[in-house]
């Protein structure tokens, strides 16, 4: 399980996250929701070791902050970044192979799994990543993340800029992934969709956690309704 | 490397005991030890060091203050001003490059400290009427003059120029064009190049297509070898290759017999010339530095010898200037006298030599009174 205590992080001298406490049990889907600039992406970057942080982040009782980013991936914590960040001059298959860079022996098996989850990618094997549409890129990005045998999948705004149709596909895939035993930490602006599929959720505002509860509780919370759901 | 270290140690050891004796006069030496010209600078350093050593063996003591200009005129000026105001030298030898020499020469009359230029070729250095500027070597125009004179008897008709886009290259070719015009030579190609290129074949192909009798070249060490290699490759074979100084006068070039055979070049000095001590200097230089002496080394040796000898007899700059102006010397560079002629002031009317690489060796072939061998013309391989 992931346990975060009193986490502070930021860029340069500008603090973004203040005293965050958060836990995720194995097999859960957890959402962190909040408005733009609240610090959601920063939280994921701190967990995956892209940026430095103070406080404590442990994953299965191991302190993550002493590890380099690539070593954290090795522990099964895989981060699918905001904006997809796929490799534009590589084909779909090459992108997926990069996702399986650390577990090359399971590569074929994982590739089959990803293609079963997103049949569209199978059709586009040799297309260059940079020439795909946003929705296709998002599927590729998630597929690439799955290639690394994740135990905990960190998803950063997977629905950003997607059509409603693709959004459905992506959230459906997240549920499937979770049911295969992968713990998911989901960061979203699409509050309704993400809380609906989550076991629990956290609301983050200007770098602090202001509210927490089950997905359902939060969806029914007046504050959340007013702030995020326009009700 | 080892040799250089030995020479430095030797020079330092020599300088030290002099300090103990009743303060010998100080002279300065500005040279390009670093920068683009460092290679030739090293030859000058060696020549000057040998001069000091020889004089010391004869009991003539001077204190030498060495300065590096890195080939930058601003540094040369700083070096000269340091020498005259901080070190209080009474005379200065140097700088090597024409640009630096130009700048320092233009200040010599201001500080009234005589400057003896050992090897810079640009004519204007001694054409401005500076009273404190003396030059040992022959200026740029003589390089082409002596080469043309050497081949005049064979009545060539056409000439092509291939030269580096440097001060020396451009000035020498300019005077060569004047001399060629006087001889009625027709210019059929003119190829100026930037140094450091790996491929000169297109230029050389153009020259080959023009089929000249003479190919007049001005290059530095490395590009001389490169040019001649590529000339051989594409089959450029004029009646004569005339190399003006620098790259065509090095031992390294002569060793490349495949490409250097029979190349004619102009030089300030050779070790087989019949000037007093020239052969001996060549031998000792080779023994000491494990390489052939270049004319730059000989120029620096003679300039340093003349400066140090004269300075040790003069107690101040004014006396030194007068002694340089009126004196005459004879040594490895032949007779030396700083005279005013043809627009020059304090210029040694140095007779340049023409040499040809015959069987892998430089042989002096012109003027007749200094040479033992004859020029082989036309060029055949």
């Amino acid at each position: 399980m992931l346990d975060i205590q009193n986490l502070n992080a930021g860029y340069g001298e500008m603090p973004v996250l203040r005293a965050i406490n958060l836990t995720i049990a194995d097999g859960e889907i957890i959402s962190v929701v909040g408005s733009n600039g609240a610090g959601k992406s920063t939280l994921l970057k701190a967990i995956s070791g892209i940026i430095k942080s103070t406080g404590i982040i442990t994953w299965n009782n191991e302190l993550l902050q002493t590890l380099k980013a690539h070593a954290i991936v090795q522990r099964g914590v895989v981060h699918v970044p905001e904006g997809r960040k796929i490799f534009p001059d590589m084909t779909v298959v090459e992108n997926l192979m990069m996702g399986g860079y650390l577990c090359q022996k399971d590569r074929q098996q994982n590739l089959d799994k990803v293609f079963a989850l997103f049949p569209k990618l199978a059709q586009r094997r040799t297309q260059l990543g940079g020439t795909m549409s946003g929705g296709e890129q998002q599927m590729l990005a998630i597929g690439r993340g799955l290639m690394g045998n994740p135990k905990l999948l960190l998803l950063d705004e997977p629905s950003l800029g997607l059509s409603p149709l693709f959004t459905e596909v992506v959230f459906g895939a997240i549920r499937t992934i979770n049911s295969s035993g992968v713990t998911v930490l989901l960061v979203e602006q699409n509050v309704y969709q993400s809380l609906s599929i989550s076991h629990r959720g956290y609301v983050i505002e200007t770098g602090r956690i202001v509210l927490t509860g089950t997905g359902e509780e939060l969806l029914n919370n007046q504050e959340v309704k007013k702030a995020f759901l326009g009700m | 490397m080892k040799n250089k270290f030995v020479s430095i140690v030797a020079a330092a050891l020599l300088v030290f005991p002099m300090l103990v004796q009743a303060a010998p006069v100080k002279i300065g030496f500005i040279n390009s030890i670093t920068g683009k010209e460092a290679q030739i600078g090293e030859n000058l350093t060696n020549g000057a060091a040998m001069a000091i050593e020889d004089l010391s063996a004869k009991g003539i003591q001077v204190e030498l203050v060495k300065e590096d200009d890195g080939g930058d005129p601003k540094n040369a000026l700083a070096a000269y001003e340091k020498l005259v105001s901080r070190d209080n030298v009474i005379g200065v030898v140097g700088p090597y490059t024409s640009g630096c020499a130009n700048v320092v020469a233009s200040r010599a009359d201001q500080y009234q400290v005589p400057l003896l230029v050992p090897a810079a070729a640009k004519e204007e250095i001694t054409m401005k009427g500076y009273k404190n500027v003396f030059r040992l070597n022959a200026p740029a125009n003589v390089y082409s003059k002596v080469l043309m004179d050497a081949v005049k008897v064979f009545k060539p008709k056409t000439i092509a120029y291939v030269y580096a886009a440097t001060d020396f290259g451009v000035s020498t070719v300019k005077t060569a064009q004047e001399n060629a015009a006087k001889m009625g030579l027709k210019e059929v190609a003119n190829e100026k190049y930037q140094q450091g290129q790996p491929d000169y074949r297109p230029s050389l192909s153009k020259v080959k297509a023009a089929n000249p009798d003479l190919v007049f070249l001005v290059s530095y060490d490395a590009d001389a070898i490169l040019l001649m290699r590529q000339a051989k490759e594409i089959g450029l074979a004029p009646k004569a290759f005339l190399g003006a100084g620098a790259g065509y006068t090095t031992a390294q070039f002569a060793q490349q017999t495949e490409i250097s055979a029979l190349v004619v070049s102009a030089t300030q000095w050779t070790d087989d010339v019949n000037w007093p001590g020239a052969a001996d200097f060549g031998r000792r230089y080779k023994a000491k530095f494990a390489k052939e002496p270049s004319y730059h080394a000989a120029c620096a040796y003679e300039a340093m010898r003349i400066m140090a000898e004269t300075a040790s007899k003069s107690k101040n700059s004014a006396a030194l200037r007068a002694a340089l102006k009126t004196g005459s010397w004879s040594g490895i560079m032949g007779p030396v006298k700083f005279a005013d002629y043809g627009g020059f002031t304090n210029q040694n009317n140095h007779p340049m030599l023409v040499q040809q690489i015959q069987s892998g060796k430089y042989e002096t072939v012109f003027p007749a009174q200094f040479s033992k061998k004859k020029l082989i013309y036309p060029f055949k391989r």
Partner: protein
């Protein structure tokens, strides 16, 4: 208030220095070099430090001033001040052409393109006849329009004046609208553009101010040394030296370039002339005949560029924000 007093003291020291020091051409010459490099680096700092546009081709503007001045002087014997003014115009034209090409580019591309432009200028000067080509231009006159060119003081005060003007412009720009816009461009070009800042206008403005000042310094240099060729005034090494001075002092600070020049120029001169070795011997720290003494005396002369390289590397690794960066308060 304290700042004004400090500046006044600095100014008074700078103005009175040649009088106090007396006529020592060597020391005055070095001080002229310090002032010139400080001014060059400050002028570059307006574009490189405040607008964040790292030009590696400032030698082109320096050369434009130097060449225009000497060509006009030797050919037409114009008033030196007029020559300088025309030099500024030439530099500004080159700057405008450069700006219209290179300001569309960012990051590495900008730096590389500025080198390419400067190289085109250098090679053109080298190939043309009227510029003296590889032979360079020698100014034979020793006095011009009543100025004794052999005297150091006019150049000392000339360079000092340009430095003061450059620092003044920098200080003014910092507080002005233009200054804020330039700093916005430095921090984030896209964000600045989205705020409605005309990127190309302000970048070109900074470039032209910087180029004009650099050109004046080129003119002064040409009159001071009285001989120029492409390797002295148009070389890439000069551009690099200007940047290095700014970085070592502190990029994007008012006084950084001055501090950088005060440190680097005397250091380079001490290495070049081997004063360092001499001083160690004179101080009795090293015996002249000992192995170290001989090595210092003999080899330091060969190794001074090597030492310069080592200092560059150490500064970039350990002082990436420059000397003034060490003291700058955290914002």
């Amino acid at each position: 208030m304290k700042q004004i007093a400090l500046i006044a003291v600095l100014a008074a020291t700078a103005v009175s220095l040649p009088i106090v020091m007396g006529e020592n051409p060597y020391i005055t010459g070095i001080m002229i070099s310090v002032l010139m490099m400080a001014a060059l680096s400050s002028a570059w700092n307006i574009l490189g430090g405040y607008a964040g546009q790292f030009s590696f081709g400032h030698a082109a503007y320096f050369g434009a001033g130097a060449y225009t001045t000497l060509i006009l002087l030797t050919l037409y014997n114009l008033n030196p001040l007029l020559c300088m003014a025309i030099g500024i115009v030439v530099a500004c034209i080159i700057a405008l052409i450069t700006g219209s090409i290179v300001f569309r580019l960012r990051g590495h591309y900008f730096g590389l393109a500025s080198i390419a432009v400067a190289e085109i200028v250098r090679l053109s000067v080298l190939n043309f006849e009227f510029t003296g080509g590889a032979q360079g231009i020698l100014l034979s006159d020793v006095s011009l329009w009543g100025i004794d060119l052999n005297s150091k003081n006019p150049f000392y005060y000339g360079m000092l004046l340009v430095l003061a003007v450059t620092l003044g412009i920098t200080a003014y720009l910092r507080k002005s609208k233009t200054g804020y816009y330039l700093q916005a461009i430095r921090e984030d070009q896209d964000a600045a553009a989205s705020l409605g800042i005309n990127l190309s206008f302000y970048k070109n403005k900074a470039l032209i101010i910087s180029a004009a000042l650099t050109s004046v310094l080129g003119s002064l240099y040409a009159l001071y040394i009285r001989f120029i060729d492409t390797s002295a005034v148009l070389d890439l090494r000069l551009s690099i030296e200007i940047i290095l001075t700014a970085i070592i002092g502190g990029v994007g600070t008012l006084w950084g370039p001055v501090v950088g020049a005060l440190l680097l120029v005397p250091l380079a001169e001490m290495l070049r002339s081997n004063v360092l070795g001499d001083l160690l011997v004179k101080a009795g720290l090293v015996s002249e005949t000992s192995a170290i003494g001989i090595f210092l005396k003999g080899n330091l002369a060969h190794a001074h560029v090597l030492v310069y390289g080592i200092i560059t590397v150490l500064c970039i690794l350990y002082l990436p924000k420059g000397i003034l960066g060490l003291f700058r308060r955290v914002k």
